[in-house]
């Protein structure tokens, strides 16, 4: 069974963990300013990269804390785990990436 390294508890079996989807999806600053399509983008649309992907995980059978992990979606290898308050390890700021994504979808 694959082992996942919880930042608090160390390596544990993957069945102790639950998956929480893409990490670093910021709540809109002003939700009321969004139209329906923008809100749908925020609620339903997620990245689906082939390769490293920043995800949320929770050690539900252990310390019950959420943390972020950078996982390779091809090999399932956990490249890094980091606490929830830390920044995305591949980009210094998530804001430009989100802006870029929004721009691409408009075209």
């Amino acid at each position: 069974m694959q082992l996942i390294a919880c930042p608090w508890c160390g390596e544990r079996e993957e069945t102790e963990f639950r998956y929480g989807g893409q990490a670093h999806v910021a709540y809109p600053d002003d939700p009321y300013a969004l139209d329906d399509e923008q809100w749908a983008q925020y609620v339903f649309f997620r990245d689906n990269p082939k390769g490293p992907f920043a995800e949320r995980w929770v050690h539900s059978a252990g310390c019950r804390r959420w943390f972020n992990a950078l996982r390779d979606t091809v090999t399932h290898e956990f490249l890094r785990v980091y606490v929830i308050s830390a920044q995305h390890p591949l980009t210094t700021s998530t804001a430009p990436a989100a802006q870029q994504r929004k721009g691409q979808e408009a075209i």
């Binding site: 069974m1 608090w8 102790e16 059978a61 252990g62 310390c63 804390r65």
Partner: protein
Amino acid sequence: MTVETPTRYSPLSAWQDALARLPTGVQVRELPFLTQLNLRLQPGSAAAQAVEAALGLTLPGPLRAGMSGDVKLLWMGPDEWLLVAPEGRQHDLVAQLRSAIGDEFATVTDVSAQRTTLALSGHLVREVLAQGCAIDLDPRVTPVGSCLTTVLAQAPITLVVRGDAASSVWLLVRSSFASYLATWLVDACTEYRGGTG
């Protein structure tokens, strides 16, 4: 019409005989009705210092438990501890801790009914637990005083290592999972019956 007085019974009261018949290498005893308090506070905060001063104990670090005194502290998470004390201490301890904490940011919750405690001892304990628990109980990995919240046979447990090489452990298990875990333990010990155990 008669009103029945609620009687308290431990989740494993029906299992005493079955547990007593286990091989000598796996002595299992339930420690029912222990006082258990859930503490939520930031380590190093004023509240943490107040709690440590009130108890005369240090809050143990990650994956550790302080088991020396009457009042024991088990690490459950980065801002969460389980205080375990002898039966009937909950009201005193809650009042003592809440007054020590005062207006600082922390919570003390009586969760005594949430779990029951199993004390396992004997030279076969490590072998029996290995049948359902992935934690490495080698003393180099989990020395005496280790406190791990994990799963045993898919049942959520908190395991405290009390004797060298897991010759003595505490299992804290949710009341609703207790009879399942007892069933599993009795089954896991079957192969040691009548042997060297």
